[in-house]
Every structure is written in structure tokens, then in C-alpha cells.
Symmetry: C2
């Protein structure tokens, strides 16, 4: 029983509605430096896993293949709440699940996987592979999951602020902590 | 000449107006794990430094005292742009500048520095020091700066997306990179 899951999903629906769920994902670089960027969360499973997609040639893919853990921070500005979710990262190896996620992406998002490797310099005049067949899943397409070990909720609507954490190792027992 | 500075400040004004500038700050924990949380950026100086405040007893203070670097990711949802700013972190040692930042905080924010150490469990019935003198700066109040070494702008309004980076070591020369 994951007691933080339904309130979290409900808060995401209330905050984002039909818009993409934009979250900040922190990773650690090969040089052990902090890195963070915003990403679209593609779903939160019944098992509490957060699903994301990425280009396997990107910097964050390099980070995660060397150090498979992340923290995801979700700012809910309308609700004035923050969720933090940290744990280990697993790469989706099931072809059917990968294909399903691929089908759910917009064509605009799909087309981003067919360009040159992310982060490499743009060379003037180089050809962009814009007319690729974006129906077929490219090798660079990667689906990964953040499997939570700890979830934290900070509620700024109350004074003093309410802060609660849940940890897998304590069976997700809610613990109120100081903000 | 910091060529990314004025466009960035202008984008922050356009996106946030009078509201707090909420950003995601990534750090690395003592166990070399990624950590990320949202914070209010208190200003971007003429030298390009990003200023923040924190409780010196917080987890992120521990992270930064052991590993003084961070990446700040700023999602501008209305403009559909993301800035990423990474570099080293310095603690403000000038008492007058610290006092000035303290004066600029709301009383609600000031009062958060007088509670029990952040992250410690709430003990039922414990006294919250709500009636502290919130005019005087407490020892836990810390001002720090993120001194950028690299700045990146991702613009999602264009197709394909525009992505530009600037690095201190190349004199902040703009480099277009693949998204």
C-alpha cells in the first residue's frame, strides 16, 4: 500500500490538468557534479514509478548509466506544494512497453529523437534529418523509470509549513518533519 | 561583458513579474547522490551571480559545505524556455550584504529560520519558537551565490528547438548546440 500515491496523482491532476507534467530532475555527472533540468513526466504507475523518456545520446543518459539514481522535484505553483521523489533509475527493457510510450508521444516530440546527438555544436549548413520516418522508434529512444525510495511533500499553504516524508524502508509510514 | 545576462533578466521579469522567481537547484549529497529542490532566487547580480538564502542547518547547506557547486534550472512556462545555470557556490561573508538580504525577506520567511532544525522529526507537543524576535538575524540565516561557469538556454517555441550555451572559459561566447 503506497499511501502517498493517490494524493500525489490527484495533486498532479489538479495542478496540471491536461497540460504536460513538467518536473525538475537532478542527476550526478561523471565528474560527480550536480546537474538538473526540467523534463516531462510521462506517468506515475500503480507501483509508484515515475516514467520519463530521453535520448540515449544525451548528457543525462550518460549520467544515469554511470550513476542510476535521481531526485525529481515537482513544484505545484497553484497548490503551493512541492513534492520531492528520489530513488534509483531503471531503464525499460520491455519492447512492448517502450513501443507503447513511443506511440503516446506527439510527432513533434518524436522528431526530436532523429536529429544529431543532443549537446553537440550546430554546424552551419548541416542537414537536419527532419524528413525521417518518425513512425519507427529510433535506437536513441529510451524509456526510464524513477523507482522511489523517499517521497517528500512540503505544503506552503499552512503556517508554519507542513512537511511530510515517506520512506520505502519504513513501509511508507508518514513522518512529519520540520520545514 | 556577460552577453547572456540582460536577456535572462528580461525573461525572468517577463515570466515572473512581481511573483517570486522559483527555480530548481540541484546539489550532490555527502553520499554522492543527486538532490534537487525548488528555491526562490533572490536576485541576479550585475556580475551574473544568482543569490539565494537558506537555513544553515538544512540538508542542502550540508551538501554545499562539502561540495560547493550547483546547477539551477529555471522553467519559464509562459515563454516556453528553460535556462540552466551551473557553477560554484560561495557563501556570503559580508555582514552588511547579509543584513540587506535579511531586511528584504517577508516576516513569514524570516520566521522560518527560528524553528527547529529543518528535516528533523516533529515531536508532538513540542514548542515552536513562533514568538521569536524576527527582526534580528539568527545564526542559521545563510546567503549564498551561484557563480555561473556555464549557462544554457533551450527555446521550445521554435521547431527544431533552439539551444545555446555560454561558458565562462570561452569568454561567454554563444555556441549553438543540438537540442
Amino acid at each position: 500500500m503506497i499511501n502517498w500515491l493517490e494524493p500525489l496523482r490527484s495533486a498532479l491532476r489538479e495542478e496540471f490538468g491536461d497540460r504536460p507534467v513538467v518536473v525538475a530532475l537532478a542527476t550526478v555527472s561523471l565528474a560527480a557534479e550536480p546537474a538538473g533540468r526540467h523534463m516531462i513526466c510521462r506517468g506515475v504507475g500503480d507501483d509508484g514509478r515515475f516514467t520519463f523518456t530521453m535520448d540515449g545520446r544525451s548528457e543525462k543518459a550518460t549520467h544515469l548509466s554511470a550513476h542510476a539514481s535521481a531526485e525529481c522535484a515537482i513544484w505545484l505553483g497553484r497548490l503551493r506544494r512541492q513534492y520531492r521523489v528520489s530513488g534509483r533509475v531503471t531503464i525499460e527493457s520491455d519492447a512492448a512497453r517502450r513501443e507503447q510510450t513511443w506511440r503516446e508521444l506527439s510527432s513533434a516530440t518524436r522528431s526530436t529523437f532523429f536529429g544529431p546527438p543532443p549537446g553537440t555544436p550546430v554546424v552551419p549548413g548541416e542537414r537536419r534529418s527532419r524528413d525521417a520516418n518518425i513512425d519507427a522508434q529510433p535506437g536513441s529512444f529510451t524509456v526510464f523509470h524513477l523507482v522511489p525510495d523517499r517521497v517528500e511533500l512540503l505544503d506552503l499553504k499552512t503556517t508554519p509549513h507542513d512537511r511530510t516524508e515517506w520512506r520505502r524502508q519504513t513501509g511508507w509510514t508518514a513522518l512529519r518533519i520540520h520545514p
